[in-house]
Structure formats: structure tokens, C-alpha cells
């Protein structure tokens, strides 16, 4: 029995039919409007799923397709899945509204909106997956859509090169992940997370455990841009259209991190991977922050900043406590809004001025004040200034490292956070200093783009001033993963 809300989730894909019809009828704006409505419907359907999860026993909704779990593909939806899926759907909605004006001058928009819907549905599916089979299929769906979207503007060499690099690294990562899934299947005889968990937790750790763990960290780490595997990201994010940069940076890498968190926590004991992940976190944030300082390209700077934020989130993953995972989830939501906003408002500036070089954007803040103010809110949030969502989640992330004895990691995180303010403030200063020739006479961004950035800026401040609701949801998600792991396994095994 499949709940209807899960079918509703796939409704945004109908944009492909509407798009073809609208193009035949010669009114392409119909398709753009439909895409906006469909993505709003996507958010609503995740809300419906949330209500179903609340109503089901143990707050875990299990949906099986074709039989009972050892033989069936299954979706196992708990509070953490819903939380991540909601963040993805919300950012997808903002990206769709923004595209309405932003993509006006591009062609092949039916393909664009279809791929964007596929990307959002892929992320939602990864969040809902209850076995390796389902996870892998949605993972590839998300991946293929994003490879095509990064190189969407194929008339110029940059996106093609970035897309090819991303395609190679991303698919090597997911094939290695597939290899790891095969090993796990060989060890446990099943692909279901809950059943694998109950088999693996009964055994003493063998070398195969560590091999599989390493493969999983590499496989998921490529998409979530953990430092030795991050080199695709600083190329792919600037070259993609700004809405896609926002989706990739705001949610795709976090979805990958969610999958890593889910699989490692369900299958292994936290102390097996804690120190490795802590080390990766330290390396990731240091390397990314230092490299970000040297960037001239505003979107490239933001891309490196995303890698640094992944480093902060890994701190939460390494703790193995409810507190740490709660902080991680909180930062996933806050970062999706903040980085989405940063890329969208930077996108407005780049769209108007037609350059990504920060020095050539000097003084653009005087021509486009509202967009620049929203960009400032996003950058201050990313730097962790009190009053924004970023402050709350960073505070919780770094303080979660202290009780488990990673004092050095907390100190390093705070230092990195302070260091990162250097390049954020530098960018802000340049944007409002004396205008250069190229930016004079520019006007404010179109209404739809402006509206999205302003709403997102309000959300960033709202999560900073009144964080209680989001913290509550994140805590419910973290408890579902760490404390109630027995329930997660028990629902399937029963």
C-alpha cells in the first residue's frame, strides 16, 4: 500500500508534458508558471508525507514495493529523512521561482525545468531511501540530472569542461559506491539498511568492515566534496547557471552528506569512523578556507566556502552524539538557505554586470542596493554573525565537539570561521566601494528574482532570531537517527 502523497511527490516531472504542449501552443511562459506551481506542490507533498510520518507508529513510515523487505525495494521515512527532503524541496521551489526571470534569455527551457525537477526528486528519494537499491537509483537520478545541468549552457567552453570533469568524478564516485554496496551485500546477504544493520552489529569488526567503510566514505565523499575528492566542485559551481549553483551548493552536497551520515550511523558503530571523519573535517575546512581567500571570481569564492561549510558539518558527523547530528541537520537547513541565497543574489549581480570577477563588480552595491543587501545577509550568515541562522548552527556544531573530547576540532572550527570572515568582508567592502566604469547605469534585478532573494534573506534572519522551530525539527531528526536506531531497525525486522 503506497500512500498517495508519495505519488504527488513526482508531480513536478509533469513539466515535461506541459512544456512540450506549451511550446506547441506558442506560449512558453505557461510552462515556466507550471514549473513554479509544480515545485510549490512538491513542497506541499513533502509536508503531507511529514504528516503521515507523524501519524505512523514510532514516527517511521515504511513503504515497500513488491513484497516484504528482504526481496522488496523499500522507502523508510523517518523525521530525519523528512527534514532533509523538506530542505531540498524548499530550495527547489526558490530556484524555480528565480528561474522564471533568470533563464528568460536561454533556450531549451523544457529540458531545463525537467532536469531541475528530476534533481529535486532525486534528492528527496535519496533522503527517503530505506535500502541500498533505492538509494543507488535515486542517487544516479540526482547525479545524471546535475551533470546535464552543470553543462547546460553548452555554447561556451567553460560549462562543458566543468561538466565533463564533474561527470567523470561524480560517476567514478557512484560506481565505487556501487562496488561498496556489492561488498556489503556479500557480507550481509541483503541490501536493506535495517537488516544489514542487525547483521553487522552482531559481528566483531573485521578488515572487510574497514574496507567497506573506506569505500563508502570515498563514494559519498566525492559528491559531498570532502577535501581530497573536492576538485570538481570549484569548477562546476561557477560555470553552472546560478540557480543550479544554488541547488548544487545548497542541497546536493548536503544530500550526499546526509546519505553518508545515514549509512555510517546505521551500519557501523560511531567510534569506528569518528577520528577519521574528524581528521577529514579539519583538513576540509582549512584547505577550503585558505583557497577561498585567493579567489577573484565571486562564484568560485562561494564554491570554496561551500567546501568549508561541509568541513564544519563533518564536525557534527564525527561526534556520534544526538547533539552533534542535531547541529549537523540544523546547519544543513541553514546552509541550504544561506548558500542558496548567496548564489542567487550573486547570480543577479553577475547576470546584470556580465562578469564574475569581484574587481569588475566593484561598487555594484550602489546600483543594485536590495540585491547587494541580501547578499550581505547571506555572507554574514555564512561567516556566523549573531542574529543569523549561521551563528546558531555553527555555535552548536563547534560546541558539540567538546563533550566527546575533540577540543582541538572546536578550536580549529572557530578559528576557521573567523578566518573565513576575512574574505566575506573583503567581498562586501569591494561591492560597496567606489563604482568602476562597467557597473554604472545598471538597474535592480527583475521582480521575481528580487522577491526570492528578499524572502530568503528574511528566512536567514528569522532562523537566527527565532530558531526554536527549526532546532526542534532538527532534534527530532537527530534522535530518530542516533537514539532510536533500534526502532529504525525494528520496524523492518518485526
Amino acid at each position: 500500500m503506497i500512500p498517495t502523497a508519495l505519488y504527488y511527490m513526482f508531480a513536478p516531472l509533469l513539466v515535461v508534458l506541459v512544456g512540450v504542449l506549451a511550446e506547441r501552443m506558442g506560449s512558453p511562459k505557461l510552462r515556466d508558471g507550471f514549473a513554479v506551481l509544480a515545485s510549490a506542490w512538491g513542497v506541499a507533498s513533502v509536508w503531507l508525507v511529514f504528516n503521515l510520518v507523524q501519524a505512523s507508529p514510532d514516527k517511521i513510515l515504511v513503504v515497500t514495493l513488491g513484497g516484504s523487505p528482504p526481496l522488496a525495494a523499500c522507502l523508510e521515512i523517518d523525521m530525519m529523512s523528512v527534514y532533509v527532503a523538506f530542505s531540498a524541496a524548499l530550495l527547489g521551489f526558490f530556484a524555480n521561482v528565480y528561474s522564471y526571470s533568470y533563464m528568460e534569455h536561454d533556450t531549451r527551457l523544457t529540458e531545463y525545468y525537467t532536469l531541475l525537477s528530476a534533481l529535486v526528486i532525486g534528492m528527496t528519494g535519496v533522503a527517503f531511501a530505506g535500502d541500498m537499491f533505492t538509494l543507488f537509483i535515486f542517487w544516479e537520478m540526482m547525479g545524471i540530472a546535475s551533470y546535464a545541468l552543470v553543462s547546460f549552457r553548452k555554447e561556451t567552453p567553460g560549462p562543458i569542461e566543468a561538466g565533463f570533469k564533474y561527470m567523470v568524478m561524480g560517476s567514478v564516485g557512484s560506481t565505487i559506491l556501487f562496488f561498496g554496496a556489492a561488498l556489503l551485500y556479500g557480507m550481509t546477504g541483503t541490501l536493506n539498511f535495517a537488516q544489514m544493520s542487525s547483521v553487522l552489529h552482531g559481528h566483531a569488526a573485521s578488515p572487510w568492515f574497514y574496507l567497506v567503510l573506506a569505500i563508502l566514505i570515498v563514494g559519498f565523499g566525492v559528491k559531498s566534496a570532502i577535501v581530497p575528492m573536492h576538485t570538481w566542485l570549484p569548477d562546476a559551481h561557477p560555470e553552472a547557471p546560478s540557480t543550479i549553483s544554488a541547488m548544487l551548493s545548497g542541497m546536493l552536497i548536503e544530500t550526499a552528506l546526509y546519505a553518508l551520515t545515514r549509512v555510517t550511523y546505521v551500519l557501523f558503530e560511531p567510534q569506528m569512523f569518528s577520528l577519521v571523519v574528524a581528521g577529514l573535517a579539519a583538513v576540509t575546512m582549512c584547505v577550503a578556507n585558505i583557497t577561498a581567500l585567493m579567489q577573484k571570481d565571486i562564484k568560485r569564492m562561494l564554491a570554496y566556502s561551500s567546501i568549508a561549510q561541509i568541513g564544519y558539518m563533518l564536525v557534527g558527523l564525527s561526534t556520534g552524539s544526538v547533539f552533534g547530528v542535531m547541529a549537523l541537520l540544523l546547519h544543513v537547513f541553514n546552509h541550504s538557505i544561506m548558500k542558496g541565497l548567496a548564489f542567487l543574489s550573486a547570480g543577479s549581480l553577475v547576470h546584470s554586470a556580465d562578469t564574475r570577477n569581484i574587481d569588475e563588480l566593484k561598487g555594484i552595491g550602489r546600483a543594485m542596493p536590495i540585491t547587494t543587501i541580501t547578499l550581505f545577509v547571506a555572507l554574514l550568515g555564512l561567516g556566523g554573525v549573531p542574529g543569523t541562522g549561521g551563528y546558531i548552527s555553527k555555535l552548536l556544531l563547534f560546541s558539540s565537539a567538546i563533550p566527546v573530547g575533540y577540543m582541538w576540532l572546536a578550536v580549529l572550527g572557530v578559528l576557521n570561521s573567523a578566518f573565513s570572515m576575512g574574505y566575506y568582508l573583503m567581498t562586501m567592502y569591494k561591492l560597496i566601494s567606489r563604482p568602476v566604469e562597467g557597473v554604472k547605469g545598471l538597474h535592480e534585478a527583475p521582480m521575481a528574482m528580487l522577491l526570492v532573494t528578499v524572502v530568503m534573506a528574511v528566512l536567514v534572519i528569522w532562523t537566527g532570531v527565532l530558531p526554536a522551530t527549526v532546532i526542534e525539527m532538527a532534534e527530532a531528526g537527530a534522535k530518530a537517527l542516533v537514539e532510536n536506531l533500534g526502532n529504525y531497525v525494528g520496524v523492518i525486522m518485526r
Binding site: 528482504p70 545524471i144 551533470y147
Partner: protein, 103 residues
């Protein structure tokens, strides 16, 4: 003994695939990705046949192989489209020529 042969060849295929990915020709890189995917497929087929809990060949192990062949085909088609476009832009299929984006 079977296990050693099958696992050994799967790991060998993984190594060959990873080696192919580091080459310069774009098509060879794409073939390398397919080889890695097939090493995973091979492991799934082997493990599905020896799954002790069921007494039959495990259908889930075989069905994931079919699905992975399908998704692998999709990845390759996107990859080939990118290579065609890269050839139009750069007039070469040598990946080391694509060096505009660094740092």
C-alpha cells in the same frame, strides 16, 4: 575457491577501471567508468548466487544488476553527449587539453 576467483577478478576489473580513468583520452575515461561499474555488477551476480539464507538465486541481487546497467547506460549517454560537445569546442578528445579551469 570460487569466491577467490570471482572476488579476485572483480578487484582486478576495479583496478583496470581506475587505471583507465586516469588516461588522457575522454572515451577511454568513459570506458573506465563502465569497467568499474561492471566490477560491481560481477560481485552482485556472484553474491546473489551464493546467498545462504534463501536456497535460491537471490532476485534482489540480480535486479540491482539490471538497474545498474540501465543507470550506467544513462551516465554513458550523458558522458558521450559531453564528449561530442567538448569536441565541438576544443577540437580534441584529449582530456589534458581541457585546462582552462584551474584554481
Amino acid at each position: 575457491m570460487d569466491a577467490v576467483i570471482w572476488l579476485g577478478s572483480a578487484f582486478a576489473l576495479l583496478t583496470i577501471g581506475l587505471f583507465c580513468v586516469t588516461r588522457r583520452n575522454m572515451l577511454r575515461i568513459l570506458l573506465g567508468i563502465e569497467i568499474i561499474l561492471n566490477s560491481g555488477n560481477m560481485m552482485f551476480v556472484y553474491f546473489a548466487s551464493v546467498n545462504p539464507g534463501l536456497g535460491i538465486v537471490d532476485p534482489i541481487g540480480q535486479s540491482i544488476v539490471f538497474m545498474s546497467i540501465v543507470t550506467g547506460g544513462a551516465v554513458v549517454s550523458v558522458g558521450l553527449a559531453l564528449i561530442v560537445n567538448a569536441y565541438k569546442q576544443f577540437k580534441t578528445t584529449d582530456a589534458s587539453e581541457l585546462r582552462r579551469l584551474k584554481w
